[in-house]
Amino acid sequence: MSERRRRRSLRPAHFDDLGLRRALGDRMLPLLVAAMAFLAALALAGSAGTSALVRHWQEGAGSALTVQVPASGDAPAVLAALQSAPGIASARQLTRAELAALLRPWLGAGGGDAALPLPAVIAAHLAGGGPDLAALQARLAALAPGTLVESHGMWVQRLALLARSLQACAWLVLSVVGSVAAAVVAVATRAGLAARREAIEIVHGLGATDGYIAARFARRTTRMAALGGLLGLLAALPVLTALARLALPFTGPPTAATLPAELLLGLPALPFAAAALGYATAQATVRRWLKRLP
């Protein structure tokens, strides 16, 4: 016998003693896990994107305030009061040209030059938690009767609520995808148990513990699930890149600093999560099945 053949026959301990390479095929399970990982990546990106959008809104429209002072009112006094009010970071009065641009959809070009008594509009940015709106409204109305304070916070809050609901849906999708992936691994493991029942009984009779047998299955499913997770992630990357480009006007250019942590950590972790799920599911399935043996 040649030395090479002899070495092959004296393989080290981690050989496939239960014949799982055939019993647990290396195509279907990785492909199914890859499909689940693909969906998980989309759900993760959806959750992260929604989260970024909410943050963007809250830092933008949610932190702004608009004050309308009637044409007859003392706009400079209102502006000065606003600039000194607590919770206001900055305030400035819109120019006539800016007002004309705002009114153009309703009054047409040159509408701002019409002899209409236009109110003065002051845009303010909030600081910290913002001012007490009711008190601010009363104070400004005292300076210029008829002054209106409009906060965008209420709309932003409603949009944020909607976004958080979408985020919850994304997490629900993630958990469903995880459960389906676990079910897929469990079914494949059970099929392997059925196919290798005789070998398992022989090995069990030779004194193998439940842990020994479960480890053989778990090693195989861990590898296949990790491969599936990696394939799913690779398949999702072009889709996520395209979505990121579409979201660019709302979220700004993505950088390591601006990308949500759940995306930065979650995506690379997908193959590892799939591997962990494959390991845990196979261990639990095999150990439970083995209880039928004495």
């Binding site: 016998m1 053949r5 002899r6 092959r8 026959s9 004296l10 393989r11 080290p12 301990a13 050989f15 496939d16 003693d17 014949g19 055939r22 005789e198 070998a199 022989i202 090995v203 069990h204 009779g205 030779l206 004194g207 193998a208 513990t209 020994y212 004495p294």
Partner: protein
């Protein structure tokens, strides 16, 4: 072939040193390897208990002893061997194997006991996808022995049963007699304290059966307790020894 491969003692002392005690043929040390008191066994038919395969068995086999297990087909020989191999638990009575009460021992305690029991099945029960070497190495790998020791012991064991040139052959490439020898090598390579054989000569011709009996007696001489189930009366006549005789699940003779 096997006869020439079986010297009066194993070729190295290392194998003999590994736990077998050289006691006299029927347990001069007086310890009981197997002790059964009113043991019964019934298999389940779905959720209901089926008819009793074994009833009221009471006997003991001392450490280092030899027993034939005799009786016609269906007498319960295989069921008793399955009990002794810890493949099933008694449903009645008290059974002690290797000083452990099999009826009450925890499930976690059984694998360590099984590692001390060698079993030769009538149908060999080799793993078809493994080579002869890998089949024989399996009990040692399960027991977590170091790879260097496994290689030495398995190579030696296969040489002892005359298969050193067939270590890479899979069971399908081996004759019935060769498969039987691989099964025997697998049963004894872990140096079991209790060696069980279920109709081990059923698939062998007379010459091979004689060789196998010499091997089993050699194991017994080296200290292993050996129980051999057979309905081959001629074989028993050629190798007289104490016997447990079963009939319809009952022990009718213990001589």
């Amino acid at each position: 072939m096997l006869a020439t491969a079986l010297p009066a003692a194993p070729p190295t002392l290392r194998f003999a040193r590994g736990g077998w005690q050289n006691v006299t043929a029927d347990g001069a040390q007086g310890r009981r390897m197997v002790r059964a008191e009113g043991v019964g066994l019934h298999y389940r038919e779905g959720r209901r208990p089926g008819p009793e395969a074994l009833r009221d068995l009471s006997f003991h086999v001392p450490e280092g002893g030899f027993r034939w297990l005799r009786g016609p087909s269906g007498a319960g020989k295989t069921s008793l061997l399955r009990l002794l191999h810890l493949a099933v638990r008694p449903t009645r009575g008290r059974l002690s194997v290797l000083d452990a009460d099999i009826g009450t021992a925890s499930r976690a305690a059984l694998p360590a006991l099984r590692q001390r029991i060698g079993m030769v099945f009538q149908d060999f029960r080799l793993l078809p996808h493994l080579t002869a070497y890998e089949n024989v190495a399996l009990p040692l790998r399960i027991a977590g022995r170091p790879e260097g020791q496994i290689r030495a012991d398995v190579t030696e064991m296969l040489r002892w049963v005359g298969l050193s040139r067939r270590i890479e052959a899979r069971p399908a490439q081996l004759s019935g007699g060769e498969q039987q020898r691989v099964a025997i090598a697998r049963a004894v390579v872990g140096r079991p304290s209790l060696l069980l054989a279920d109709e081990p000569t059923g698939n062998l011709d007379d010459a091979q059966a004689e060789r196998l009996m010499r091997l089993l007696k050699e194991m017994n001489r080296l200290g292993a307790t050996v129980i051999v189930a057979t309905h081959n009366e001629a074989l028993v006549a050629r190798h007289p020894g104490p016997a447990l005789r079963l009939q319809a699940g009952r022990l009718v003779d213990d001589v």
